[in-house]
């Protein structure tokens, strides 16, 4: 799978998740990934646009991109440490 030419190793479909929510799903996926792997998370939660970039920065990973899709947002994150 790819997004903007980047190879995605894992897709997390968190659309419709209000609790635990897309960020918790992302944290779980990042913990279960190897350094260098790329995770895409799909979200319909308006809060994701602030909380996902905030957490990715604080945890020291890389936010490769945020893409508006049809009815949801895709966040692509690389595990860097």
């Amino acid at each position: 799978m790819s997004s903007g030419g980047i190879k995605i190793d894992k897709v997390v479909d968190a659309r419709g998740s209000h609790c635990p929510g897309p960020l918790m799903e992302l944290i779980k996926a990042i913990k279960n990934s190897e350094v260098g792997q790329v995770v895409a998370v799909y979200s319909t939660d308006s809060g994701s646009k602030t909380d996902i970039p905030l957490w990715v920065k604080k945890a020291g990973h890389e936010l490769i991109g945020v893409y508006e899709r049809d009815g949801y947002t895709e966040f692509v994150v690389k595990k860097t440490r």
Binding site: A14, H18, P20, G21, K58
Partner: protein
């Protein structure tokens, strides 16, 4: 006669079995396998840890007494699920063939995945709750930190709820001014959903509970009594309550059915496992992005019972899970909030009230009868 095997007799498995027994016991033989004769009401762990319940028998019952008599209960541990050959193998060596399988094996806690976990306490098992109760009774002053050692975990609001209940507990003991309560939130807010987070944050601030954003516990230094986050921060504590990491049941991992820590991947509406339309998973065992809660397990159980019975009766299985979860969170001082949401509908901004506190008491009471029997 069709053979239905249900693995795990917790909330989800018991509800699914009881509904099926009511609907199709003439057309199907229903077997439920549970690895313990006891059924435990897990939300009771919170009350046990805080001394609101002293008698453990208040939160446990014999599983046999909770099941419709038409259900065959097998007390054994499932060690392998063979979806190709539609068979389950038990510890005793017994093999169970099935036409339909419902996996409701829940989750298990693995505190040992966090380095230094020995220095922490938790309320995620009977033993854990008992130990925590004793530690709290000994506690006179200092810093209590409550945090999360791994995602996903059961009942996402439970640690925030526990902080509010600690505030109530120490107030009742008359030493609240000597205790600092710190909530280590895995997220930038106190709760996943913004509207709910706003209400919980306000409540925590009112109670003087300190909260730390984006603090996912990575390790603990038992000597120095310091907890470290994977985001690079640390906090010194006197008593640490850590929600332990969770994994799916061992049988899921041993059978190669799980992903990302042993969670069974299922369709978010039909609850079927991959292309195996006769295999369902419900409750904590799944990898669905809904909270690992008794409420979700209960709603999913009703959907699965409906789908299996429709099919056995020769109809199309039409019931679909809409992601519904409802939950009551006790904030102490006889106040609680209530949330009800699904995949399409987010939770509304909650209000703390005595009414919802009573709602929670009703759930605690009617769990054994109305809920487990699948009547509501």
């Amino acid at each position: 006669m069709k053979k239905i095997v249900i693995l795990g007799g917790g909330t989800g498995g018991t509800v699914v079995a009881n509904i099926l027994a009511r609907k199709i016991s003439r057309e199907a033989e229903i077997t439920l396998v549970n690895n313990s004769p006891q059924h435990i009401y897990q939300p009771g762990f919170l009350y046990l840890a805080l001394g609101e319940i002293l008698d453990e028998s208040k939160i446990t019952r014999e599983e046999e007494k909770l099941l419709d008599r038409k259900i065959r209960l097998v007390i054994d541990n499932a060690v392998k699920i063979d979806v190709q050959n539609r068979m389950v193998i038990l510890s005793s060596g017994k093999q169970l063939e099935y036409d339909y399988l419902v996996i409701s094996t829940g989750s298990r806690i693995v505190p040992e995945e966090v380095q230094g976990y020995e220095a922490s306490y938790h309320f995620y098992s009977l033993d854990g709750a008992r130990r925590l109760y004793e530690a709290l009774e000994r506690f006179r002053e200092g810093v209590i930190a409550v945090g999360i050692g791994g995602i996903p975990y059961k009942c996402p609001p439970a640690p925030a709820e526990f902080c509010c209940l600690l505030d109530y507990y120490f107030t009742k003991r008359g030493i609240r001014n000597k205790v600092e309560i710190h909530y280590l939130s895995p997220l930038p807010r106190t709760f996943p959903h913004e509207a709910v987070a706003e209400a919980i944050t306000k409540m925590m601030e009112k109670k003087g509970i300190h909260w730390h954003p984006m603090f996912n516990i990575e390790s603990i230094d038992p000597e120095k009594k310091i907890v470290n986050s994977l985001e690079g921060e640390s906090l010194k504590f006197d008593l640490l309550v850590m929600v332990p990491p969770h994994r799916g049941a061992e049988v899921i991992e041993a059978s190669g059915l799980g992903v990302d820590g042993g969670w069974v991947p299922v369709d978010k509406h039909t609850l079927q496992y991959k292309d195996y339309s006769e295999v369902y998973a419900i409750g904590d065992a799944t990898n669905l992005p809904v909270s690992k809660s008794g409420a979700a397990a209960h709603f999913e159980a009703k959907i699965v019972a409906d789908r299996i019975s429709s099919e056995i009766m020769g109809d199309e299985p039409r019931a679909m899970y809409d992601g519904r979860v409802l939950c009551f969170c006790d904030a102490g001082f006889r106040k609680a909030i209530y949330m009800d949401f699904n995949y399409e509908r987010p939770p509304k901004k909650p209000r703390f009230s005595y009414l919802w506190y009573l709602g929670k008491q009703m759930v605690n009471k009617f769990y054994w009868s109305l809920i487990l029997k699948g009547i509501v």
